[in-house]
């Protein structure tokens, strides 16, 4: 009900100084989650709260706050959940390292299996070449 598909940004223009500032704003808000419509970014959400937070972020940018400071401001209030990229810490180790670890393990398994399969074939091939020579 509160969510829509069109980027809300277009219908809620903010007075940016220049294109660079607008781009920075869009880049930042697209990395932040709308808490009301949890599958939307702050950039894309039409939710009332998302609009308020966009204004707040814009305000903080005018005050010269860095992206990092703005993110910390939001994390302090809404938890790490506002960040689409979860930060690297003890509780998120599995999240960050399990997928590459699985790829490595899978790669080793495939490698070993292929070697096993290739060996007899290679021996036969060598024998054949040997015979022919």
């Amino acid at each position: 009900m509160f969510c829509a598909i069109t980027p809300a940004f277009a219908i809620d223009p903010l007075p940016f100084k220049d294109a660079a500032q607008r781009e920075r704003f869009q880049h930042l808000t697209s990395q932040l989650r709308c808490m009301v419509c949890q599958n939307e970014s702050l950039d894309a959400s039409n939710a009332d709260l998302a609009r308020d937070l966009r204004h707040q972020i814009f305000e903080m940018m005018q005050q010269g706050k860095s992206d990092e400071q703005i993110k910390q401001y939001l994390v302090a209030r809404y938890s790490d959940f506002v960040l689409y990229d979860p930060p690297l810490k003890a509780s998120t180790m599995a999240l960050w390292f399990a997928p590459p670890a699985l790829v490595v393990v899978g790669g080793i398994v495939v490698f070993v299996l292929l070697r096993k399969r290739a060996k007899p074939a290679a021996q036969i091939a060598m024998n054949e070449t040997g015979d022919d020579w």
């Binding site: 808490m35 009332d48 709260l49 308020d52 209030r77 809404y78 938890s79 790490d80």
Partner: protein, 181 residues
């Protein structure tokens, strides 16, 4: 183990993994977000009272004993579900229940309370929702338990139910009261 059984073992492992996922999701709300504010001082606030906008309520006015802040709004559908529960329990929970009217027109909120009854000891109005950002509010109703020292001890997102009150809120209130004494 024969190498032929490996695909079957992998398949069985996936079945178990997905099965655990399904069961887990049935018992956990994936959209639930624990508040990072629990155990931290409640944000400072300075808001007008709903009944009399000339009077303001500040955080330090409420220090000294535990209290509940219940974030509601006349436009909030789930608040209507919660309202009868608040009417029933407000006098029984042993701490003042402060209403926090969230992004609402004061006239609408007053009419809503007049129609449904007012369970609150007092109601503060945050028409812009700016202070609610400091509280990490993202969906009414939300309920915060603040202890005598002004620290947030417990938060519930969504309507309070008799079950939530008995199982979570009352023990939290008791703990907050005990630590005050």
């Amino acid at each position: 183990m024969s190498a032929r059984l490996i695909p079957f073992a992998v398949f069985a492992l996936l079945v178990v993994l997905f099965g655990v996922g399904i069961v887990w999701n049935e018992h956990h709300d994936a959209s639930y977000v624990p508040s990072p504010l629990i155990g931290k001082p409640a944000p400072a606030f300075d808001l007008p009272m709903l009944d009399d906008a000339s009077q303001r309520v500040r955080k330090h006015d409420l220090l000294g004993k535990p209290y509940l802040i219940n974030v509601f709004a006349s436009w909030c559908f789930a608040c209507g579900d919660e309202h009868p529960v608040l009417m029933e329990y407000a006098d029984r929970i042993g701490v003042p229940l402060i209403g926090y009217d969230y992004k609402d027109k004061p006239a609408d909120a007053k009419a809503w309370l007049a129609q449904h009854g007012n369970p609150y000891a007092q109601v503060i109005a945050d028409e812009s929702g700016a202070t609610a950002i400091d509280f990490g509010v993202y969906g009414a109703p939300e309920t915060f338990l603040v202890d005598a020292a002004g620290v947030i001890r417990y938060k519930h997102i969504g309507p309070l139910t008799p079950q939530v009150i008995a199982q979570e809120l009352e023990p939290a209130i008791k703990a907050a009261q005990d630590s005050t004494r």
